[in-house]
């Protein structure tokens, strides 16, 4: 079995942030952190870039609204033009209502499924689940992962560095 990386366990969110910063200063770049709730300070340390999700959501909303409006337009102008009380066939104010609702629906789908796709979820098998001490929610622990893919990675050295940065325990995890 090949190694996937080294997982260090911390008892406090501050300790995790400090250790992640320390490992970054030592030149590590292929890291990930696991916490039971979002920790804002990690974004900068782990170089988490701003997501493109807002643009996907905007595109989903506009596409969905346009599609709904086009369907209505097709039905009233081409497929089944019928005079209702002398109103114009293309009576846009009422059509906008449905286009608005469709736009919200499309944007919501884009946000939900876009987030899942960007995060690679659902993902039922991931190396971190192989770790003894994972189950991040059980004891309110905070985890830092250094991947073997990191150019700075040296098994013994990395472990020692993590211990000196205050890890409660350090574990090798298999891929």
């Amino acid at each position: 079995m090949s190694l996937y990386g080294i997982l260090a366990v911390f008892g406090e969110p501050e300790a995790l942030v400090e250790a992640a910063g320390g490992m970054r200063d030592r030149g590590y770049r292929h890291m990930d952190a696991f916490s039971p709730f979002p920790i804002k300070e990690l974004d900068q340390i782990l170089e988490i870039r701003g997501s493109r999700l807002p643009w996907i959501v905007l595109a989903g909303g506009i596409a969905s609204a346009a599609l709904a409006y086009a369907l209505i337009l097709y039905s009233v102008e081409i497929d089944y033009p019928i005079n209702v009380g002398g109103r114009p066939l293309h009576s846009w104010p009422p059509f906008l209502v449905i286009a608005f609702e469709a736009g919200i629906l499309g944007a919501a789908f884009a946000a939900f499924f876009g987030m899942l796709a960007a995060n690679g979820l659902p993902c039922y098998h991931h190396p971190v689940f192989n770790a003894e001490g994972f189950g991040y929610a059980r004891g309110g622990k905070f985890h830092l992962l250094v991947e073997t893919a990191d150019p700075k990675y040296r098994k013994g050295v990395t472990k020692g560095q993590l211990r000196r940065l205050g890890a409660e325990s350090v574990e090798e995890i298999e891929a």
Partner: protein
Amino acid sequence: MADVSATSPPVLRGRHDFPEISGRIGSIVLSGRLPRHFWTAFFVCFLLVLVFLYSITYLIAVGVGAYGIDIPVAWGTMISNFVWWIGIGHAGTLISAVLLLLRQPWRASINRFAEAMTLFAVAMAGLFPILHLGRPWFFYWLLPLPNVHMHWPQWRSPLVWDFAAIATYATVSLLFWYLGLLPDLAVLRDRAQSRPVQLFYGILALGWRGSAFHWARYQTAYFLLAALATPLVVSVHSIVSLDFTFAITPGYHSTIFPPYFVAGALLSGFAMVLTIAIPLRWAFSVEDLITVRHMDNAAKLMIAAGMVVAYGYVSEAFFAWYSGKPYERTMMIERALGPYAQLFWVMLGLNCGVLQLLWFRSIRRTMPLLFAIALAINVGMWIERYIIVVTGPSRDYLPPAWGEQSLTGLDFGILFGSIGTFFALVFLFIRILPAITIFEIEELAEEKGKIR
């Protein structure tokens, strides 16, 4: 409650640590040892579910005339139930989405069950227009589906907009709720003891592992959904009110309806939040997570929404007079003095009178009193919807055609049946899913320095 300060009770009481928070909330679900009165209450609700099923079967077999509607009053309790339920749902979205955008920390412990409340209320609401159709099995004609008739929905009709709005609202509420549940499902997966339970929550959790990269995108998506839900919730109840205002019936045809309906929705919705939260926090001893502060703030929002509703009542009456039209004036006078007068005054007494008690801090912070007021407002708001639906058509343009809707046993069978079904769903939700958002409480505890 002795340690609650007079000015502003805290959002979280006491000091906590992370295993304690996730353990306490998770164990309500995982240990499965719920108090005996929980199951007693569930049993009562289950009986009402049976009443509901019987009533619906009877209604479909006999037809809509079975529940007291007749020309001229062709809209009855099915429509008022619909508006009432959809309104109850709106407070859940307001708490979860609007308060998230406004960064109000007090939403964290009540947003989950408020969202669940939304979902179940919308599920109930969605049934009523379909039951009202007379031939409910043709409801899919409202959808633009290719079918053998080659027809299209009438896009200019508010009923079709309504269908689009409710369907969108139900879907977006479900997505928002599930997205919020995702990290908590992972907590339950990791805390579960038995294999089937691990599998159940594990599959639902989609392999969530709390990676910092995931959290960043997760929060973006969550905020975006909140930002989408906020205009949606306003549009949904506005569109519901357009069902009325597009008709020229006296008492329906009014421009005050959209804002008035949205305010009414918030009033009844917050009343329902309190109706559920007060017994919940007592029964599961989570008074330090759902604190008096939450109850107090919800009561304040009720007062705010209630004053807008009161303005709506005044505005309706004023414009009926100011329009100078005898039909509008007659309808208004008949509403106050005619066959529905008793209900009308009870409604005013509850929604405008009893509500004013909430101005007093001591009443807002006395849970049994607040619970009683919330129940009174729920009743008052149902009566309001009923009054709006039936008084207009019962006194329209031709006096010889005047007539009343009579409430029958079936009306109440379906109303109380739906209430029972709603609470049965809430009970099942409390049993199966964490009713308080674990990760947000932990984040809050961390931010407020309430960690041991």
